[in-house]
Structures are given as C-alpha cells and as structure tokens.
Subunit: 606 residues, 2 copies
Amino acid sequence: MSPKITTELLKQLRQVMKSPKYVQEPVQAYIVPSGDAHQSEYIAPCDCRRAFISGFDGSAGTAIVTEQHAAMWTDGRYFLQAAHQMDNNWTLMKMGLKDTPTQEDWLVSVLPEGSKVGVDPFIIPADQWKRMSKALRSAGHDLVPVKENLIDTIWTDCPQRPCKPLITLDLSYTGVSWRDKIVALRSKMAERKVLWFVVTALDEVAWLFNLRGSDVEYNPVFFAYAVIGMNTIRLFIDGDRMTDPAVREHLQLDSTLDPEFKIQVMPYGSILSELQAVGAGLSPKEKVWLSDKASYALTEAIPKAYRYLTPYTPICIAKAVKNASETEGMRRAHVPKGTVTEIIAADKAEEFRSQQKDFVELSFATISSTGPNGAIIHYKPVPETNRTLSVNEIYLLDSGAQYKDGTTDVTRTMHFGTPSAYEKECFTYVLKGHIAVSAAIFPNGTKGHLLDSFARSALWDCGLDYLHGTGHGVGSFLNVHEGPCGISYKTFADEPLEAGMIVSDEPGYYEDGSFGIRIENVVLVIPAETKYNFKNRGSLTFEPLTLVPIQTKMIDVNLLTQKERNWVNDYHQKCREVIGAELERQGRHEALRWLIQETEPLIRVQ
Amino acid sequence: MSPKITTELLKQLRQVMKSPKYVQEPVQAYIVPSGDAHQSEYIAPCDCRRAFISGFDGSAGTAIVTEQHAAMWTDGRYFLQAAHQMDNNWTLMKMGLKDTPTQEDWLVSVLPEGSKVGVDPFIIPADQWKRMSKALRSAGHDLVPVKENLIDTIWTDCPQRPCKPLITLDLSYTGVSWRDKIVALRSKMAERKVLWFVVTALDEVAWLFNLRGSDVEYNPVFFAYAVIGMNTIRLFIDGDRMTDPAVREHLQLDSTLDPEFKIQVMPYGSILSELQAVGAGLSPKEKVWLSDKASYALTEAIPKAYRYLTPYTPICIAKAVKNASETEGMRRAHVPKGTVTEIIAADKAEEFRSQQKDFVELSFATISSTGPNGAIIHYKPVPETNRTLSVNEIYLLDSGAQYKDGTTDVTRTMHFGTPSAYEKECFTYVLKGHIAVSAAIFPNGTKGHLLDSFARSALWDCGLDYLHGTGHGVGSFLNVHEGPCGISYKTFADEPLEAGMIVSDEPGYYEDGSFGIRIENVVLVIPAETKYNFKNRGSLTFEPLTLVPIQTKMIDVNLLTQKERNWVNDYHQKCREVIGAELERQGRHEALRWLIQETEPLIRVQ
C-alpha cells in the first residue's frame, strides 16, 4: 500500500480557500468531515471527499487543512491504515490517546489570530457545528459555512451521485406497513407537540417507507429526504425511480388515498428551499423536529425558536427494536439457503483449501486479511497488499451480506496450519471475552457500555486490549452499523438495551506486524430467566443469530472454565442442528462433513 | 421514623414566593437544591434547607415547590428513606427509573404558561443553571435568580453558620507545602493563559493551604473561598480564626514574604463584590478560571467573555493523586493505634455482644443498621427507629473516621446468629463483586465506570442488583467522597484512574423490608504486573488499605471460585499480619484472639 501523493491537491485546495470565487473572505482552515449530507457512516464514491484529499479511505476520519498543515483525526481501528495511506503532508491524530489534541484545541494552537475556519454546512452535523463554533469563537476565531464544497471544486473527475432502482418490501418482511409507521410517527409528534418531522438519515427514510436501494455500497439505502407533517408527506428523491410501477403501487402514488397518506414527490435538491418555506410559515409554538445530528444547513433552515432537536429520532428508536417478522427474517438470513450468494464459513474453508490463490478476488463486502494485514482492523485487500493465504499465518475473515429478510455480519479467525501457543493464548482470551458478553445476564434497560469490559476482562488480566468497541447495532436489511444502541467503552449514542434489539459481539486482539484476531456474532437481545428477576424489572441476555463454527484448533482448552467450555459446546451443537439440517436438505454432503468435524465437543485435556 | 409535617411551612413558602418583599415578580416555582454555596455534598446545619422544607435529610436530593405541588428528586440510595421522612404534601421522584421525569420536564408539564422559576444563585451550580434555564426558556418559562434565600426567610430558628478553629498540617502529613502548591497552580494557570483562579470548593481551599477545619460534620473543611492571581493570594474567611498564632505562622501572615506569597485575608461575605471588581478590571484576553460547578452567582460576576470554565480544576486533579506522604498516611490511618478513638471491627464485635443496648449512642459517623433498616442504604439510627441488635438479623456497619494522616471508610455486614441460606447467597454474590473489582487488572488510564459491572456480574446472573455506584474517590484527611474519579454506572465526573488515586470498593445488596448487605474497603490504585503490560501503556490494579476481617460465617464457600477463595484467604492473612502485630504490641489479647478466629482460611466443604 503506497500512500497517495497529495502535494498538488493540497496546493489547489489552499488556493480555493483564498479564492473570492468560492469564499466571501479567505478561510485559514478548511474542515473535510467524512460524512455525506445525511451523516451516513458509509458513503457513495461522490461523497468520499476526505479520502480524495488525503488518500485515507477508512470509514471514520476528519481532515483539516490549514495554510501550513494538514491533519487527520481517526480512531484506533484505523491508525495503521491511515499511516499507510497518507503521505508526509499529513499528520495523523490518533483519537483516544491521551496526548492527542481535539480538532478545536489543535486549530486554536496553529491558527493566526482572528482566523476563519470553513466547512460545508451540509456535511457537518448541527451538534458538531455548535461545539466547534463555540470553541473557536471563545479563542477569537470564526467557523463559517462555505456554500460551495471546496473539495468538489478541485475534484475534476468526481463520480456522479448514484440513483439506482428501488426495492419494495412487503409486510411479510417488514411486519408493519409504511402507513402504520407514519401513523405511529405522527402520534409521537403529537405527544411532543411538534407539527413537522424531518427525516434526514438515509436508513430512516428507507425504513419508514419500507423501501430499499443500492446507492451506497453495502448499505441498502437511497438518497432521499422526507418531511412529515400531520397531514402531509413529502419525499425528496431524484431520478425516474418513482416511475417504477412496483414503487408507485407500493407507495400508492396513483390511488385516491386519504389525503394525509398522499405522498408528494419532490426533487432531492429542493429540500433546503422547501424547509426554509416551512420555517418561514410557522406560528409561535409550532415546532419542527430534527435529529441534532442533521446537517447544520437544514437545521439553520428552521429558526431557532421553532426547532425541536433530539439525539435520537422516534424512527431511530422504533427501528432498533425489531418486530417478530424482522427477528424471524434475521434468523432466516443467518442460515444458508439454496438460492443465496453468501458463502458460509463451511464453503469458504473448503475453497481456501482448494483455491487459496483465488480467494481474495471473491467479490464480497469483506475484510479478508492474513498475517500482519490482520492487525489493520478495517483492512480491505487491494492488489498491492494482497497476501497469499498460508499454513503459517492466521487468517481473519469479516464478511456480511444483505438479504431481503435480514443483514448478516460475521468474523471468524482461522489457522490452516499449526497455530503458535501465543496465537492460541490470544485467541482464547478473545473467545472468553466473546462468551462473557454473549452469556451475560443483565437487568432490562441496561446500557450497552456497561457490558463492554466483560469482553476485555480476560485480555486485561494478561495486559492485552483492543482499540475498538465491542459491538454495534445491526439493521434489518438496513445498515450493518445502526444506532442507537451498541456495546462500547464510548458512552455516547447508547440507548438502553431492550428485547428485540440486535447488536454484534466482536472482541478482538491485534498484534501489529503479526496477526489479527476477532470473533464476531450477531446477537439478539432476549429475555433471560433468572432466579430473582430484578424485582420484576426483567432480565435480558443475548441469543447468537450467527451460526458458524469457531475454530477449535485455535482454542487453548485449559484456559477455559467449565462454563465457557459448555458455552462453546452448546453453540456448536446448535450450529450442527440448524445449519446441518439445511446442508442436509441441500445435499451438500462435503460441507456437512466439514461442519460435523468443526463442531466436535471440546474436552479438557490437562 | 414519622414524616415531617410540612403543610404550614409550604404555605409560608408559597406566600414568600409571591411577596414583593423578596421577589421582584412572583415566582410560580422555587427550587431548593441540596448543596451550599460551595456545592458541597455534606453541608452544615444552616445549609440544610431542603431537609428543613421537606423532612428528607439524605445527602442528595432537590426539592421543587410550585403553587400546587411539592416534589423531591433523589436517587436509589434514598428511595426508602425519603418515602419515610416526607409527608403526603410531597411527591417522590425516583431518579434513575425509566418513567421518572427530569426536573425540567416536570416543571414544563405542571407550570402555567410564561412562568418564573426561582432559585438562590449562590446555591445552584453554573452548569445546572445553564441546562435548566435553557430547557425552561425553550418552553416559554424563565429561570430567575432570587437574591434572598426564600427558605431562610421562613426558617425562624435557622442555626448560625459554623466558624470553628483551624488545624494546620505540616509537611510530614501533606508532602507538599502550600507555597509549592501555589507555584504548581500558577504554572497550570500560565499553561492555560489565565490570570486568576477562583477556588470555590471547600476541600480544595483546605487542600491548597494545608489547613483543616470542622465547620461541616465528618468533612474536615471550613467555610472559605480563595482567589489566586499570578502575584496575589486572597483568602476569604470569617471569624477570629486568623488570630490563632499557629495558623498565622503556618500561613506566614506576619513574615516579610516574597510579595507573591503574601496572603490577603478578607471577609467571607466579600467574595462576590471582590470578584465583580476583578471582572470589571479585566482587559481583553485576560481570563478567570472557575469550575463549571461554581455557583451561578460567582460565575456571573465574571463577564462571559473572560470566563474559563472546566469540569475539573487543577486542584481537584492534583488532590486525587496522592503523594508518598499521603499514601503512607492513609496506610497508617487504617491500622489501630494506641491513641485512636476509632473502634475497629474487633472491638465493636466485642462490644455488640456485651453492650448491645448502648451501641447506637456511640458517637461515630456511622451507618449502623440491623434487619430491615439495613435496606435503607444511607440509614442513620435515630431514637424513633432504633432497633436492638439480635441474633436473628443481619447487621450492617458503615463507619469512617478522620485522622490527621488519612480518612477511613469501611463497611462490614455481620450476623451474630445463623444466617439463612438466602442471606448467605446474597452476601456471597456481593463478596464476589467486591473481589472482582479489587482484583481487577486494567490498562493505565481506564475510567472507573468501565469497572462498575464487574461488581454486579455475580448478582446480575441471579437477577439481583443494587441502586448505587460501586465506589467513590476518598480524600486524604479530607472529604470521604471526593472527585474526580470513582467507580459507577454513571459516567459523569469520571477522570481516568492512575496510580496513587484512592477509591472505595463497595458493592451491596438490599432487600426492602428485610436486610441490607454491603462490603466496603478503601483501595489504592497501584501498578500491576501483567504478562504483556498493554504494550508499555502500563497495568493497574487495586491494593486494599482497609484491613478488617470479612465475616466468613456469611460466605457460601461453594459459590466462590478457587481464585476468589484464595483472594479471601490472602486478604485475611494480611489482616492477621498487619493488624495482629499492632494488637499484639498494644497487648489487646482478646481482640487478637478474635482476629485469629475471624481470619481462619476458607476451605471448600462440598
């Protein structure tokens, strides 16, 4: 992986930062966040502005360019990758380490007095704008919105914004019709006494209308906004997607519906002016509900006195708690089907043995890394770094797929030869952490961050740790990373866990230059049976939805307790039963033999 | 415990809330926080305004009185106590439960349009003022400062503000002179480019000047403020305390000192006008550093542009990390001495048996509760509730003392007859939680909240929990509850742990109407030895400073792992060695025999 040479690009950017054609007054710094106008985590190629300017293409990072400096903030998952992908023009700011300055503190330390700091108001969330603007102002600087995106002005071969066809989802997948979702949303609006609700997150638009798209890789969403009034529904979306008869019927665009369910379709680009018109027409006490993570541009369209901002929208919270149809779908999605294109670990392992050289060319949304590449937490194989799998190195595979009935995300770590004692030791600590979370029992309403240390305790006892959270919310045929719940040492964005939520459980260990280990299942929050049931508050635990064997060759059985051995054996028994039955039905006998072999019970050998 | 009848008092308060003598305009609600002007947790009798108006005298709670309602917010430690102490005029708002409204939300729901909500600006911290003011304003109400405290106007027999003599601490106790502390503080001020630092917390004033007092029960502090400039030191303190020759010499008030260490002594009540004068004399870029928990009144004395607010002051952080003299002192304070007035558990247990009736008259700062009283987490025996100890009930003793060399805080739970299987089961889960925290190994710089669930895991597995945090910072001959670190599911006020910090480890379990269990040691954060040492980040663990036997009769040994049994046996061995040697030296043979018997090793009996 050789770094992107950015000298010329930075020169051009610094020129437009001073050019009266683009900025009213020169800006001494320009911020390039990693999101799009919807604050998506995964973004379309046309929105990869931070990757374009810096070379670093991980999912999280913020670039700031001043006249003298260029700096990139990212978190522990990406320290190695960012260091590899960026040239010497860039300083890497390792977030989460004690001595790393915040963006605000760094700006204050490098800027000349009375500087202007520019940012695209559509790309920066309102809450971040507020925090940064305040910090800069108190040091005598100004955060200013720059209407034209300065990266776009120098990005000559910027790809077009995608506009792919939509998929409609019927009741058997979603469990609730879009009309009923609108009714529920309006009742939440009435409760909070707001007249309008602005849907800005792409997965929230998709969920609300029971539609899916493919505008963004891996996330089945499409570019759109929606504005929901008590009697009106406006959908802002481009292209000829609304001419598709299936979509027209799904949204009942041509039926003479009750007027309050009539969807007005408007151009994607008209959201700002429409919202400004809404804002201008408000009477006192009429409020507009937005996420506090909506863009600064859209938030500013509503005068301050009329805004009702919350960290989580009612859609975000409703979406996180899966209904029976969705939960059932997630279960089905985790079992191989005759028609699926996903390759389960059984098939993969077969392929690895027969076709090792070809493997990294498979076209899956996959982290496939061997040996030292495994230590790059969000590694994605590219031709320059492509390593051949071998019997001498640990292999890490993190793959997920989207099905109409659910979203999968699984990581397994394997050795095709003989792992060293140290590799087995580390793997076993990670497994102990995985089990500690998966088998944890906790009171109803516990926040996920309180479970994070369970995943680390066995590693900590030996002085090992990993620099990422333990789990993220998972959407239902939606984004594989979804709020508002998760399991992380970070305590923001952490709504209490309740039955029906789905998260990942994925502790790891990464040895720079040597190997990476991660064991990940998608797990469903379910009620638990406990002796005393928290005085009727209710008990919760997790049920693994992912059913893929955990390589027993990597386990140092003597480091496991009896309880942990039982957990592994019960889990493998369930893999045999559920996956085995399906392989049997499909007549995949070789895979079945492999499954049986990989799920042999652990026995203490000491 | 019969509730306080507050009908008449509330009537009087509602009258002054409308009286032009005290308020410019009538206030429709009046907030009575529990703190004093220094935001102390424990307060002098003259500051117990919330207890006066409501009857509820726990350490945490906020009362709000409107024309129609009177409501009290408190946390899980005090649900039972508050319910017992308040009459039917009051609604108890159980903080931490899902359906309990915040104070702001509740006010918005009950107030008529355009209401004024009054509060004493000296009692409310600036950060709370800001949050509440914003929430009220967005709903069309106003938070207004009421200069005269309205409770004081109806509190006819309000006690006087205490003004007790001071104790000076020499270098052998403090390890650092007050001059050197001022030098270190000024260097932090220079780093942050501030010209003035305002010391508002009582323990910070006491720590900075190496002085102690006894104005507040149990906390060795005195009423004072300090304002530190780059060349000036102003101490705001009342009474003739500065005439004491020992104090004069300690503070070098009469020596011809370098002018920058000359202390100007001013009246306590002049802080506001002096600070306003400082604020008025500032030039642009000259900043004044205050805690964001300083009172709204003092914060407002400095114009907004000149304020530098931080959640933790440099004094708070320096104070939390104990130096060698302080750590050594804490160790000494935990061992019985010939001259101490503390009665260690050995002596107490002897007394209990011989003099049970007298026990609650002992004059210790003590939670001494038997049977159902034990379930009242911060119970304090009073004549009406006084229960006789018996061989049929669990007895909980939480006691602490102040020594010149340190502060102790210990809880033990005992049974003098035969505990039931259920009582032993619960006790053993609590013990497992205590051990899980005490023996935890974690990376340097971990925040305490990440350890909180370790204390709960064994309880959670059976559907049990406790409604309080697991530990608090402990001062060095200072407040027994001290920031900025702790171990709690609450994540605010939680600076990373580092070697030298001292916290309590005190999980519990409380069965309403039956019993309370808590096992508390004071523990010192120390470096740990780990196999891989977090890539040189460093490993931490805890060393118990408290050395008091844990009653083995209460332990169901078969619920402990081998590791946990070893922990108990090692701990008891250390009690024998350290405490035994001291008892031997003092010739206290009966206590020694008791100690030996109580520290017999646990053996698995299954």
